[in-house]
Symmetry: C2
Subunit: 584 residues, 2 copies
């Protein structure tokens, strides 16, 4: 079947038509925490051609009231692997975690690596939906294997850090599991808390960090989900011949792309170079875009130090051939963290005036263990430097404060709510947040194209909604942000890692090829783009139901007024341009 | 000139045409706190036929960016007496204080009695605009008399309670002044803080309490505004003959209305009877609508106790002949408070499970002194009863907590932000707030018509946006809420006390008569209603620019789900009905 009109692709999505081969046997696992009942449901046809982020937007719109309180029994927490998960396509194992966000009060999809998505898909699971709410104080674990789905109470894991949690669960369930867990921050319902996903070594270094989804999981009384896919197979493409052709070309491309080679060598910290040069590295609470101690964060220096201590580059998820994660050991060559990303270095480093790599790495490890978003924390502690509670550059104190979040002291409780609430409590009027979410490591004044994305994404200030945005004029940049956001939402729906690049930059041939061969369908590039567009529409629709209006697509005023060194630019994309970027 | 078409009335508003008599000499006083410069500006013609609430909406839309941070130098704090202020019309001296709210992040007009509005108008002042921001730590007083307008630094008043502040200022400036001041809560920028207005005895018992305007005043570094109208005259009507006729009829009406007589006898506490009977008295954190200890709050019991202790009924503002305020003394017959209103009794009493009148009166006095909204505090402490920090019924602890707000402890800082932030910090999912503002003393489940107003007012959950709403069907109630909100916004624009009733219930003859005779113009009832409608439009327009969408007109989900004893009603006005109530 060939898709020629917009109606056709919507019909396909609605009816879940498949033009050849057998339907994959897939299920939605629905866990009602009010009565601890688990249902294994067949997948409604509307959802057949959706996965990951796109499936989350659709489910939220169909099942969750826009007006619900994010921590109430009416909200739902959704785990959805991308449409290509479970296959052996490299970098295809991204997981989407979604819900109404307790941080933004709008739609949230948070994207993460680790082994969870592949195992989920190989277990035949299209999505896990957690709904309802258990009696107060009850804490559960959800275990899913080929033959068993069960909830069990796990009081012994109460308030355990993610590292101890994963260690305990690996001991109990063996090595062939993937774990989603929350730390003390999620259990305490802090709205900056994350959902940790275990990496290939079974450590909680990957995080669906943004939007406070850990608090939703905490409100459902779920400490961890453990997936064991023993006895399950790779997901097979419906059209293996064309699949094989596309796959070989794709691997070939990945191995030859020099940008990917650089990413493989340095990981995301290589972003420091660009940010320092262009001057968009958030520094000292967004007061500058270039950090004097930036050389401490230099990608070469990080690589050298990591290697000296026995560190190495590793893949965040099985099947990835980019391997952009640093395993970073401490002075004694003991493992410290494996997620020292650009955003963490920027927000917990430069933005707090902290240049010491070991301090930043320890803060990163602490955030992962407590289960809280490093980006939101960087913004939050940045705001705190306007008070007597933290001085710029005081890494020791910053670490203490992260542990106050763990302990749930009053100050920790405040900080655990992120940028906006911390600003409220301390009467700060310079708030680097959009739609309630802290702005990540790209100062919009010196990366204006990113500002368009941050301002307009329904997910709140989220750099993963689209980068690579270009254009000679503001008008072109707005158009390109829209184009890229459509492509990025499509990638998040397929579950492809954004670092594979080509699908975002050039033709969608790989995306079309994988989509068609895995699903057994014949769609064209324009059809896929329509799917991407429909994902963004769904997200905006949910936000409208949650009370957002068009003017919520904006950057905070201070970016338009305070010049940002070293360029002394202010942000100048007109508000009207932002409002129309994603109007459909 | 007769007004026949909608265009005509807008043209009049826009051009400020006056059909007879001289223009009043009126000024806008603009105080720029960034450089401490004061300008006395003539009133733009657009504003001639506006005052109070209507003028605030217009100024905010013309001069303040919807996206600004409420505590930033870009926000403005506006004091605007109603259009009839300064005359000798009984009950015409209501003051509107307005700004972008640090509580709701939307438009805010907060309405208050006291002597400020009359003096303002008699000084020839249409509005006082405070803008900009002084250096951190500076605290000023603004003094205005017939011959002098000046700012002076007042470091000695730093963190003083409103009672001590008023006493010190009366000592310095003498008895013929009206004072607007903030307490420690406003200075600390707490978003539930109020602006206190001195009563006729020079005590800070009247509050522009809602929406956190005290924090805006604090952010401007203004501790107090002192007005001395010595040497100024009554504002004279342009058409004294017709004015006199209307005035005599009006006084006659006020003196004969039995409902007003009852209000004069019991004050607003008489609302307790209706609330207990219908079951909408918020009780124990909005878990019931009828309070078992309600007899302690019985209006007859309050009256008896007040009189035994030498209390009496008094007028909140000069020229009021209703006199609905209780002067309530303590056990030793010393003055305690003069603003023991229905809303305070409900929210600090029943909603916290506290039935002891002296405890509630002391809490009221403390809130007035600290400068914080009693309604928001009742909702906030109600939420806190879901934590280990407060037990229901523990008045002693509740008083301690109000003093923690005064001191600015971490817990006090949290509570000082009101219902929504307190809910966030403690992970509570049952949040009685609309558009960021705590719901006042009318449980929507058993007073559904009030629910329509609370859900739809651009001001957030605000009972003064319209009551008296009736209708046999939901559709009729929605229409009537709209009708009443138009009339109420008109009353707030004229500066008339809502308790004069007749203008809200029956014909607008008095409003038309006063409007025309004071302004020297000939408008008709429908013209005034169009002005009222335009006030609501302006407010909604500002909220749209601030990022609100149509679905923000709603009640929290739990009111639709949890039955409210004693009726066990849930709230059932459809969301679509709420969204259309104020669509224009």
């Amino acid at each position: 079947m060939e898709i020629k009109k917009q109606e056709d692709v919507y019909r396909l999505i609605l009816l879940g038509e498949s033009t050849q081969g057998e339907e994959k046997m897939e299920w939605i696992i629905r866990v009602n925490m009010s009565n601890q009942k688990i249902a294994k449901e067949s997948v409604p046809k509307d959802y057949h051609l959706l996965g990951g982020r796109g499936l989350i937007g659709a489910i939220l719109n169909h099942e969750v009231k826009g007006s619900c309180h994010p921590l109430s029994e009416n909200n739902k927490l959704i785990f959805a692997p991308g449409l290509l998960a479970g296959t052996n396509i490299p970098c295809s194992g991204r997981l989407s975690v979604g819900s109404k966000s307790p941080l933004t009060y709008g739609v949230k999809e948070s994207n993460v690596g680790g082994g969870f998505a592949h195992k989920c898909a190989r277990l035949g699971i299209k999505a896990i939906l957690i709904e309802g709410k258990p009696p107060k104080g009850k804490l559960y674990l959800l275990f899913i294997s080929k033959n068993e789905i069960k909830l069990e109470e796990v009081p012994s894991l109460t308030q355990l850090g993610n590292y101890d949690t994963d260690a305990a669960l690996l001991k109990q369930y063996g090595g062939n599991v993937a774990i989603a867990s929350i730390g003390p921050a999620g259990e305490k319902l802090f709205s900056a808390s994350s959902v940790a996903i275990s990496d290939q070594e079974g450590r909680p270094t990957r995080h669906a960090a943004r939007g406070g989804l850990g608090a939703v999981m905490g409100s459902k009384g779920i400490k961890a989900i453990v997936l064991d896919d023993s006895g399950c197979n790779l997901v097979k493409p419906k059209n293996p011949e064309s699949y094989k052709v596309v796959l070989n070309h794709f691997i070939d491309y990945l191995e030859k792309d020099p940008a990917i080679q650089s990413r493989s060598k340095y990981g995301t910290p290589e972003g420091i170079w660009h940010a320092m040069e262009a001057g968009y590295l958030p520094t000292r609470n967004f007061s500058s875009g270039r950090f004097e101690q930036g050389n401490h964060l230099d990608p070469d220096a990080i690589l050298k130090l990591a290697e000296e201590r026995g560190g190495y580059m590793t893949a965040c998820m099985p099947g990835c051939i980019i391997k952009c994660s640093h395993v970073f050991n401490d002075r004694n060559k003991n493992f410290l963290t494996a997620s020292l990303e650009y955003e963490t270095l920027s927000m917990l480093g430069a933005n707090l005036g902290i240049g010491d790599l070991d301090t930043i790495a320890t803060m990163d490890r602490t955030c992962d263990d407590v289960g809280i978003d490093t980006i939101e924390m960087g913004g939050t502690l940045g705001i705190l430097t306007e008070t007597e509670f933290l001085r710029l550059g005081d890494g020791e104190r910053a670490l203490q404060l992260l542990n106050e979040i763990r302990e749930g002291t009053l100050l920790g409780r405040i900080l655990g709510q992120g940028v906006v609430v911390t600003g409220r409590v301390f009467g700060v009027d310079r708030i680097p947040a959009i739609k309630g979410q802290g702005i990540p490591a790209y100062d919009p004044r010196n990366r204006k194209t990113m500002g368009i994305t941050l301002a307009t994404s329904a997910l709140g200030a989220d750099h993963t909604a689209a980068w690579y945005v270009t254009g000679d004029t503001v008008e072109e940049q707005i158009q390109d942000s829209r184009r890229k956001q459509i492509r990025f939402s499509l990638m998040d729906t397929l579950g492809m890692c954004l670092f594979t690049r080509i699908m975002l930059l050039d033709s969608l041939d790989f995306m079309v090829g994988f989509f068609n061969s895995v699903c057994g369908i014949t769609l064209h590039e324009k059809d896929l783009l329509r799917i991407g567009e429909s994902v963004l529409k769904q997200e905006r629709e949910f936000n409208e139901k949650a009370g957002f209006g068009p003017s919520s697509d904006n950057v905070p005023d201070f970016f338009r007024e305070e010049p940002c060194p070293p360029t002394n630019n202010v942000y100048d994309v007109p508000e009207e341009g932002l409002r129309k970027t994603l109007s459909f």
